[in-house]
Every structure is written in C-alpha cells, then in structure tokens.
C-alpha cells in the first residue's frame, strides 16, 4: 500500500509518501493564496524524489481552507434555510444567534414548514409536502442554489428531510441540498447551524476539490483522492465536496493522528507546538477524544464531530516581554525567520529564549548571548507552567500517560511533566499533519435514543448500524471495529431511555490499480 498525505495549512503545505507503515519521503512548501499552487508544488517535489509515474493507491488531503473561509467571511454563498417542525420550535427561526455580519452574507431565504418528529418517533404533525413544493418553486425562481434542511428530531427519523430533498430534486434539480441528519447530533439549533454553514461552503468546496483533482491529474497521479475529516477519517473527494464542515478541524486532528502513528502509541497526550499556538489533545485508541459540548466556528454555535482541543497562545514565535513577564499570545508567526533575534531581527521570541537556554540550536546563538540568565530561567518556567497546566487540564484520567511532542516549536515542551510517564519525540514530527492525513481510515457513527431495550441490546443495535454506515462509506468490512461507545441515560424520559453513541472505523478497501 502506497499513500500520499498532504496537509494544506495556513502557512505551509506538507506532503509525505508512505509505503505501508514507513514514511519514505517528506516535503514542505509555502501555502499559496489559491491553495492548489502549494499542492501542485508539494506533489512536484515529492514525485521529484520518488520518481514520476510511481503507482500510488490513494491520496489524502487535509485542509483548513473551509474553516478559514468562515472565519474570514470569504467565498461564502447565500443559502435557503428550510426548517421542518412547525408548530414546534416556531419562535426561534434559522440563523438565530448568528453573528450579524455572517448572517447578512449567508441568510438568503428562510422557510418554516409543518412536520418533524417526537423523541419516540411519532410525527409532531404530518409533513407539509404541498408547502414544501411551494418553497421549492420559490427557490427555483430565485438566484439561490444552495439549500439547508433541518427537521425536528431528524437524527432519530430522517424521513421529512429526505422527502424535502426529493421534492427539491424534482422542482429545482440544480440546487445543492444539505440535510441536517447527515451532519449533526441532537440539538436542533446547533445541528441546523452546522447545516447552514455547510450549505454556504458548497460552491467553494466544489471549486477547491476540482482544483485538487486537477493538481493530481497534472502530476500524473490516477489514484483516488480522499479528503480528511475532523474525526481522523477520510471521505472520497467526490462525496466530501458535499460536506465541507467535516474538514473544519482536520488540521489538528491529522497532527494528533500522525503523532499516534509515528510514536506507535494509541493512548497518549499530544502537544503540537506551532508558531503561534500550541494545541493539546488526548489520544484514545489512536483517535483524538471528541468534544461533547458546543464548539463555536466563526462565532456560530455548532455541535458535531470535533476533536476536544485546548489551544494555548504559545508557540515558537510568541513574543516575550519582561516586567511584568509575559509570553504570547501575540506572535511573529510565519515571520519568525526575519523578526526573531537569532535570525537577525529585533524581537525577543520564545524561540530566542530556547536557543539561549541551549534547548535548540537555531540561527545565530551569539545574538542571544547577552540575555540575562534570570530572564531566560523565569521565561522558561512560565512556558513550562503553561504547557503543564494545559496537559493536566486535558488529561482525562488520574494515572500517568505518555506525551508525544510534535510541531516546529516542540523544544518548548519540558522534559518532565507531572502526570506524564515520558515525553516522546518522534522522527518526521514537523510533518505529523501530513502523516496523519496519509493514514486516515473510514468511519461510521450512530447517535440515537433507544427505549425498552437492555443496555447491551441498545449498544448492539447501534454498533450494527454504525458498521453498515462505515462499509457504505468505503471501509473494508473485515477491518471495521468499534473505537468508541458512550451511553447516557436520559432524565425525565420514561421506559429507561438511553442515548447511545457508537463509532466504528475500518481501513479503506483496496482500490484496483489502473
């Protein structure tokens, strides 16, 4: 199995070539404004080393492009929002609580229709199919071509959303439709928010994916292209282009998965120290632990598969000030090679302090020789305390666990941390992101309420549904296994109600070579 993993980050585009479990080549190149230039260049460099015409089984790309689009309010399309659930949930329409500047760009039309379900599967009222047809005609007669549909309790019964999609296909077949049950969990407002964010990125996702495909073709690669997702798994590009929100947090996820792979550890803490921030997460069975709570993206509340991360304003480029002592959160970022002392600049950064302390050999060491030993000591103590507290905060059990150090600034991580059994440094740590992309697997997930079943029966049913989903998404059935089971009894509901979440993953089924 030969795979290429590419990480399109804010600063650099990294690419690696993996042969089975071995990193054969790794390259780094600056990210370009239209992202594909960097990908083409990274592939050119990689194939330059490996030899053009190399047979590759799969290419995986992870990118923060779609998150950046939302955060920077760029390249977003107006959306028609359809909420199904009247007479319930009538007073809080779609786009409620969005930042006004973002709502202005995305809120094209808002429609609310009768329908939806109860927690036990009964309809709230019958679905208003005639009203839906009317809405579809209004969309057809407008400029809007992206639609987001959210129905009450659709994670339990998706039929209203599917019927709405059917009508849209019939009346305005050129509209891109996003259905909420494909994206989110229980929590109507947050799931609908994710749906509308996804809908406003559909055009951008289509264009970006096409550009990636072109970049591959131009490099002479015929292997299937996958895009990596927030949970460390992949989707075929032609399917992933319909779900850009699934890539929102794929950068940090890939870095954690890469750390797990390179260190051969499946349960560990990971600290990724970049130029501006440090991301701290917890690996469980080789995957980042997921956030269970609301995560804001560009000021919008969302609730879906995202890694549970603590981001500290501390990186290799963090500015250091004395009296009072302060490290970060302001950073020189990608300008580190010009602005820091050791590289001939005039700003004191965390990297300069590390060089002065002899932790790393970068630039011209003599340029920091005059720094007071006391300042270096206090500053390092502060940096170490920040990382120690962050690690302790993210640890989920009291026992000692190993910690994998990755990222360009990983020399800032102390060699001993309370509650950590050992600090593991790995080869290729600077391209852990791209390695994480290359090793991604396919997943399936079920999150629903079961009633009148024993706990084991409920979990068993959920597992079978999740496995079917993974296989439909391209997993090799023989490799699918459970990575996460969570059950939560529900207050006030009768019949011993249990909310069960099961997630399974499997290897990508082998692709016939062309």
């Amino acid at each position: 199995m030969r795979r290429i993993g590419i990480d399109v980050g804010g600063t650099n585009t990294d690419a690696v070539l993996l042969e089975d479990d071995r990193v054969v080549h790794a390259v780094k190149t600056p990210t370009t404004a239209e992202v594909t230039g960097g990908v083409t260049e990274a592939l050119r460099l990689l194939l330059g080393r490996a030899g053009r015409g190399l047979a590759v089984d799969a290419v995986m790309i992870g990118t923060t492009h779609f998150t950046n689009a939302v955060v920077q309010r760029r390249h977003l399309s107006p959306v028609a929002a359809i909420r199904i659930g009247l007479p319930a949930s009538a007073s809080l329409p779609p786009f409620e609580d969005w930042p006004p500047d973002l709502a202005r760009l995305v809120r094209g039309q808002v429609h609310m229709l009768e329908g939806g379900h109860e927690y036990d599967g009964r309809p709230i009222v019958p679905f208003d199919a005639a009203g839906m047809r009317e809405v579809a005609r209004k969309i057809r007669d407008s400029e809007i071509r992206s639609v987001g549909v959210a129905s009450v309790f659709s994670p339990l019964d998706r039929s209203c959303e599917e019927e709405a999609a059917e009508i849209l296909r019939d009346v305005c077949p050129d509209a891109a439709v996003t259905l909420s049950h494909r994206l989110g969990r229980i929590g109507l407002l947050e799931r609908e928010n994710v749906t509308l964010l996804n809908a406003c990125l559909r055009d951008l996702a289509r264009a970006t994916t096409r550009a990636f495909v072109d970049a591959l073709a131009a490099s002479g690669i015929t292997a299937p292209l996958y895009l990596t997702q927030n949970d460390g798994t992949v989707m075929l590009a032609e399917e992933a282009l319909a779900y850009p929100v699934y890539g929102f947090a794929s950068g940090p996820t890939n870095s954690m998965r890469g750390a797990a792979f390179l260190s051969k550890l499946s349960d560990a803490m990971v600290v990724d120290v970049g130029g501006t921030t440090s991301d701290i997460g917890s690996l469980q069975r080789g995957f980042p632990r997921e956030a269970n709570n609301v995560v804001e993206v560009g000021g919008v509340r969302t609730l879906f598969r995202m890694p549970d991360l603590l981001s500290l304003g501390l990186g290799g480029g963090s500015l250091v000030r004395d009296e009072p002592l302060a490290v970060g959160p302001v950073s020189v970022g990608y300008q580190l090679p010009e602005r820091s002392l050791v590289f001939g600049g005039s700003e004191l950064t965390a990297t300069d302090v590390a060089v002065a302390a002899g932790l790393v050999d970068l630039g011209d060491r003599r340029r920091v020789a005059a720094l007071s030993a006391d300042l270096v000591r206090r500053c390092l103590a502060r940096i170490h305390a920040m990382i120690e507290e962050g690690v302790d905060r993210m640890k989920s059990d009291a026992g000692e666990v190993p910690l994998v150090a990755v990222g360009g600034g990983c020399f800032l991580i102390p060699e001993r941390i309370p509650g950590v059994s050992e600090i593991v440094h790995v080869a290729h740590q600077a391209v852990a992101n791209a390695v994480g992309a290359a090793i991604a697997q396919v997943s399936g997930e079920v999150d629903r309420i079961f009633q009148g079943l024993s706990r084991d029966e409920a979990i068993g049913q959920a597992r079978r549904q999740a496995e079917d989903q993974a296989v439909r998404a391209g997993a090799d059935p023989g490799t699918v296994h459970v990575v996460e089971v969570e059950d939560l009894p529900i207050a006030y509901l009768p019949g011993n109600s249990l909310r069960v979440r099961v997630r399974v993953v499997g290897d990508i089924a082998a692709h016939p070579r062309r």
Partner: protein, 362 residues
C-alpha cells in the same frame, strides 16, 4: 401598581444568575434568553413587580415547563404554549391573572414568566417557590405551606390542553401531569395552581428575580475587571467556597425518570491531595470532602467553571473540567423542620441529619 422595567442587559444577567441558582439542574436558560432577545428587539419589555404591591385577592399565575431537557434541545422553548397555559387557566377559572411568577428561579424556568410577560404585558412577580431548582412538584414553599396543588393546566404546541382539576396529593398531581406530558412529546407548558396575592406574600420566596439578576451582574462585573468571578459570587451572596479541583469521574444513570449519579473531583492548589464527591438527582444534592458529608440540600450546591464562573449542569459535567464548588444559603422556609421534610437530604434518599454549612461556620 408599582413596577419597574427590566432592561435588556438585566435579562442577560438574569439568565447567568438563574443558571447558577439551578445548582446543576433546571436546564440551561439559553433558549429562553434567545426568545427574550428577539422579543426585546421587536419592542417588548418585561415589567417586574414587588410582591408587596400585590392585592391580597389578586390572582398570580405560577408557571414552568415540564419535560425532558433532551427533548427541549429539539423542540425549542416557545412563548406561545406558555401563554396558552396561562390563558387556559384563566378560562377554566373564569378570572384574569394580575401577574405571573416562576415556580423555580433556578435554570430555564426562571425565564418563563418573563417570556409570558413580554407577550401579554402581565408583570412578573419578584418571587419564586424554590429559591433554586428542585426535581419534584412537592419541593416548593407552597407545598411546604400545605397550599392546594390543583388545578393545573398543561398545553402543548398543537393546541392540546389538559386540565387536572383535582389531585389527591402532590404525588398524584406529579403522576397525572407527567403522564399527559409524556403523551404530548415529553415537553409541555404548565400553569400550576393559581395563588392569591396574600398566598404569594406569605408563602413564596421573595426577591428571587432581583437576586438572580444581581448574581449575574456580579459575575459579569468580575469578568470585566479580570477578578475571580466565583469569589465575587461568594463574597456578594454570603456564600462559602468548599472545594477547587478537577473532575476525575462522572457516573450518571436514570432511575424513575431522574438523572441520578455522582461526580468525583481531585483537589487542585489549596485542595491538592483531597477528594470531593458530589451526588446529584437532576440537581446537586450532597457533597462529601474526603468521605465526610460537608454540604447537603437544601443549601445551594453550585458548581462553576473555576476561570469563567459559568455554572456547570449535572448533564454537562465531564472529565477534566476545572471547577469550584461553592455553597449559597437556602431560603429560610426550606430550613424549617417542615421544609426539610420536603427538601432535606432524606427527601432525596440520603440518611443524613441536615446540617447547614452556614450554621457550622457560626
């Protein structure tokens, strides 16, 4: 009738304070707050009245939403059925209400009278019947005073209305209304037994709306000035810091329709090396420090994020959170012998003699 108008910032503070007074239960006031923001944008206002200004024979609607917090994440809070429950009661009684008040000031129910007030123009009475949140209908100051529990109206979004005209006991009222609630999808607006102005003045917990607003303002001011919001709340409300630590373990289970369970915290900083255990039934009920019970219901057991001061619910507690446990004083009525029968530790199945953390200090 003297009333004051609540400003939009006061509504924001009320939501923060009510969440803290929820003592882990009561549901997040977020959706109620969104509704009120929308109503305020459309020009509505909420008037607050001092209970002393109620006419003795004036009638007060006592309101809350009944149901499962999870269902409320899909079927969102909506003023229409809430107003419907009040109108259904007026129709049944053949009398109009002079004002509206909350059963519980803790959690999402604290905002329900404000939603009804913003739509109908009725004033909100500065009072409630718990001074916090509790899981069961008989855990109110009205029940402690043996006031009648009927009638009750229950209304859903489809214009279904149920009237429970009599009930043999509070337990029967809970049973009958719970059944109807489940039938309409496990969420419904209710208007409880109406109270006269005299009953409110004598038997309600007074000043709880202004207390919740003040709590919220304390947290907001501390955040603005980069002071410790938890300590600010403790100082302002005569509370007591019990423990600071990190959540090590959470065990939840549903029995008889309640979220029961326990959380264990490992101490940090001054509490390093010690352990705190919290038991809950929807709300936090008892706390043990190194195995010894140190705080118990009805004293308010509030768990807050150690940095932001934001309240943390029993459903959102999770591994690794940095939290501070604080106690706030309970309303005096809950501390009487009769009150403790309804809301003391034994009412929650703990064989403990009630001792207040505040008495212990004195």
């Amino acid at each position: 009738m003297a009333t004051s108008t609540l400003s939009a910032p006061q509504i924001e503070s009320l939501a923060i304070g009510a969440w803290i007074l929820g003592t882990g239960g009561g549901g997040s006031p977020y959706q109620g707050l969104l509704n009120l923001r929308r109503l305020y944008r459309e020009g509505a206002v909420v008037r607050l009245m001092d209970p002393a200004d109620l006419a003795d024979d004036g009638l007060v609607a006592v309101v809350s939403t009944m149901g499962a917090p999870l269902v409320m994440q899909e079927r969102l809070a909506d003023p229409a059925p809430m107003v419907g429950s009040v109108r259904a009661m007026e129709e049944y009684l053949g009398r109009r209400f002079q004002a509206v008040m909350a059963v519980e000031i803790g959690g999402s129910n604290a905002l329900q009278p404000c939603l009804i007030a913003a739509v109908t123009g009725l004033p909100v009475v500065d009072a409630d019947a718990m001074g916090r949140a509790f899981p069961e209908a008989q855990m109110t100051s009205f029940a402690i005073h043996d006031l009648p529990m009927a009638p009750l109206t229950l209304v859903d979004v489809r214009d279904n209305a149920v009237i429970v005209s009599r009930a043999a006991s509070w337990k029967w009222m809970e049973r009958l209304s719970r059944k109807a609630c489940v039938e309409v999808g496990s969420v419904a607006a209710t208007c409880k037994a109406p109270r006269t102005g005299r009953e409110v003045k004598d038997c309600a917990i007074l000043g709880s709306v202004t207390k919740a607003i003040r709590l919220g303002e304390t947290v907001e001011a501390a955040r603005r000035d980069h002071r410790d919001p938890v300590q600010a709340v403790i100082d302002a409300e005569g509370g007591r810091r019990l423990f600071g630590g990190k959540v090590r373990d959470v065990d939840r289970r549903t029995t008889e329709g309640f979220l029961r369970g326990a959380a264990t915290l490992d101490g940090l900083d001054a509490d390093r090396g010690r352990a705190f255990r919290l038991a809950f039934q929807n709300e936090f009920a008892v706390g043990w420090l190194d195995g010894l019970p140190v705080v118990m219901t009805p004293d308010l057991i509030c768990v807050m994020d150690s940095v932001s001061g934001e309240a943390i619910g029993t459903e959102t507690l999770r591994y690794g959170q940095r939290v501070t446990v604080a106690a706030l004083p309970a309303a005096p009525i809950l501390l009487t012998a009769k009150g403790l029968q309804h809301v003391g530790p034994r009412a929650f199945g703990y064989d403990l003699e009630f001792t207040s953390v505040f008495e212990a200090r004195a």
